[in-house]
Symmetry: C2
Subunit: 464 residues, 2 copies
């Protein structure tokens, strides 16, 4: 599959990175002199953060090419994404040219944050009907899952499937409106924040703190309405709205008016922002943001909630695409070390080796049918003893795999030997003894006959 | 120290829990028939989530009492928190009574989300000047750190110190305005969201998804302005504002008008919310929210960023308050198991035992001066071998400690034996071999003389 990215910058670069790291070839057209450098910087950021979101290695990276003419970029593309500046005349010109040269069945998305499809498609598309749709992503595009889709129903359904396959969360907006959904909310906050600064109520840093130490943490996982549903408590949502509704007409907001963006206000905000974050470069801030997002999204993954559900679904797809080999030792883990596994020594913390080996044992569990249903039936294996040898350091971004040998598998005992490797080098080994247990009595017991039967042929004779 | 909570409900209960779990005695007054049950439920939620935010056990819980008269609650309190419904006449009556009976130097905070101190203090406080201040928290109060403080400078400074000591983040609002800072932003979003629902653009669930799969993840860690600073890229913040400024006057928002909260709109929202979340009880949703918050805040803790910095500072305070004992074995860990450490078997994942033992080794490192400065000088210890025996299960909320014996400590080798206990029961043991290394060559080398000298007396003779 091939994606064409028209218009570089931080959004176009984010799209390029998202497709590329999910195995697509990507062709970029941007006439700006700095486009190649800028896109490569975004892709570099993506390489150090995106693969660590998953417990499974992503497919091999696609090929990234930069072309000098728009037709060369879009001619054989399956997905074309327009991310040029937010000016309707410019969008019209670029989308017209795209549709003249694109394959008939190519999907043509626009990253516009404000324009409606009916506006975008007021364009001369040659003999064909103009057929661009809105595919509005959020920065950083390679990490944040949300894409707002607005357009013709069947087109948007096809687009949803592809976006899901590259780990994104399509949100189909059913009625076209200016600024779709998310930016309307963002714009409301932005406007109010400008007033707070103009009136010297708060600085940029105080406003950021008011968000990230409070409701920002709520919104990262539940959004607005589910949060308020809880606040309403047992009395329910209607009660909550009726109770807080009257506040809407109180003099709480300045929203009836728009602050004028004078030079003075712009400079005030810029100065406050320098004071708040100026000691770090934009590059540093990008990496901090990305590492934070990875760590929080991985926390939600563990919790099976919100953006975390999406990551687990993508892991499941990645795993299902792998061919399970009959070969021994068994390949039980194949993954990239995420940033949140490192410690003050700058390398992967020792406890995370234990997590990799625990995941390796889980792979064996899946193979022998000691799965969710089995656990729900009241049976499982518990680890009782591990002996780990740490032979080499691991760092964030390293691709590692585990080869597991089943040393013993008769009766209640299951003994595994895990060899964790980076390429051909062993970085750690672990001998792990598990005992089959009843989850009711929390005591050892014989495994079920199906599990025993599946386990027996995996045992490597004469190794124990 | 003693806190008085006047007005139960979810906010008053959250304050009670926050104080109580940080070692304060708490006295509650609320004339409602259900107050005691409701507050106990909030405190139960707090018990299962708050202690897991820290790597150090919190002080012993204070004593919670319910009294039938307001004067009995406030008479000997150091902090009095008013959390009655948002009606100014009611606030006046309650704050007047509080100030008649409170000690002269008691701090009197109001949880009001909208009123200004000048409004709250239009009250007959007897012979004294009315002196309430705004201390506006965010639900769940026992987890979210933010408290907006508005009031007289010296009072607010005293209040800040106390709030910090119970793990909160005071944000001093320098000019009093209706709704302080955060609720002005929230109100702007709420208003716009109501329009989106009224106009059938989006449902409650779609709006929540637009937030939590996109900008909500950004706001949980950086807020609005630092996020946009990055979006502006190398061109800077002033450039960003100038570029996006004109959008403010585009027809992007409905904000110039307030939607009327008709019965029909209220019911529409309630129905959509039922469809979105109605399959879970409020209790379930509360626990899901709390577990998500704990997991994300712990992720930020590991990243040393935002709300995570606050948690690390609180850990440092908790640790500094512990008396280091000369006794052997050495008490190296004393903590509660957080929710994000459990796995599909419902108990603590085996890799987290490794984390507890890794933390135990870090305590020894701190004792022997192999600290941050030592690491910065290019020296450290790396673990090369562990043998772990898993003897008992651990669950979220369990308080555990580790007793560590130093078996060997001469030259490059450091051998530790960790005994992880819940009460008197050993849940796991770990024999850990560490080797002293140069962080430059990544090879073994002799430790510095100060570290060697500090280590020698810790070694227990004849154990190895």
């Amino acid at each position: 599959m091939k994606a064409a990215v028209v218009g570089g910058g931080v959004i176009g670069g984010g799209w390029a990175a998202r497709f590329l790291l999910n195995g697509w070839d990507v062709s970029v057209f941007d006439p700006g002199p700095d486009a190649e450098r800028k896109i490569n910087e975004v892709v570099a950021n993506a390489r150090r953060s995106l693969p660590g979101l998953y417990e499974t290695a992503l497919p091999a990276e696609g090929k990234l090419t930069f072309v000098n003419e728009l037709p060369a970029a879009v001619r054989d593309a399956d997905w074309i994404q327009e991310s040029v500046p937010e000016r309707l005349d410019l969008k019209h010109r670029v989308l017209g040219e795209i549709q003249t040269h694109a394959p008939d069945d190519a999907l043509i998305g626009s990253s516009t944050s404000g324009f409606k499809p009916s506006e975008l498609n007021q364009v001369n598309a040659g003999p064909r009907r103009a057929r661009a749709f809105v595919a509005h992503p959020f920065n950083p595009v390679y990490l944040l899952p949300l894409v707002e889709l607005v357009g013709q129903t069947t087109t948007v359904a096809r687009a949803s499937g592809i976006l899901t396959s590259i780990g994104m969360k399509p949100l189909v907006v059913r009625k076209e409106i200016d600024a779709h959904i998310a930016d309307r909310l963002l714009e409301a906050v932005w406007r109010e924040a400008l007033w707070l600064i103009k009136d010297d109520i708060a600085t940029t840093e105080e406003i950021d703190n008011a968000i990230r130490f409070g409701f920002g943490l709520r919104w990262a996982q539940m959004g607005l309405f589910e949060t308020y549903r809880i606040a309403g408590g047992e009395a329910g949502m209607a009660h909550f709205i009726e109770q807080f509704g009257p506040c809407l007409t109180w003099p709480w907001t300045k929203l009836m008016d728009v602050p004028e963006l004078t030079d003075e206000l712009v400079q005030k905000i810029a100065n406050q922002s320098d004071h708040q974050s100026g000691h770090r470069s934009i590059r540093e801030l990008e990496r901090i943001r990305d590492d934070n997002l990875v760590a929080m999204m991985r926390a939600l993954k563990w919790r099976e909630w919100g953006a975390g559900v999406l990551l687990n679904e993508h892991d499941a797809r990645l795993r299902s695409e792998r061919v399970t080999s009959e070969k021994k030792p068994i390949r039980t883990v194949d993954r990239v070390i995420p940033v949140d596994w490192t410690d003050y020594n700058g390398h992967m913390n020792e406890s995370r080796y234990g997590q990799v080996f625990s995941d390796a044992a889980d792979s064996i569990m899946a193979m022998i049918g000691a799965d969710e249903a089995y656990i729900a039936s009241g049976l499982s294996y518990f680890t009782v003893d591990t002996h780990t040898r740490f032979l080499n350091e691991c760092h964030a971004g390293d691709t590692v795999h585990v080869d597991t040998t089943v040393l013993e598998g008769a009766g209640k005992k299951l003994k595994l030997f895990h060899d964790m490797k980076r390429g051909d080098d062993t970085v750690a080994t672990c001998e792990q003894l598990l005992i089959h247990v009843s989850l009711e009595t929390r005591r050892s017991c014989e495994p079920g006959p199906t599990v025993s039967a599946k386990l027996a042929p995996l045992v490597v004779e004469g190794t124990s």
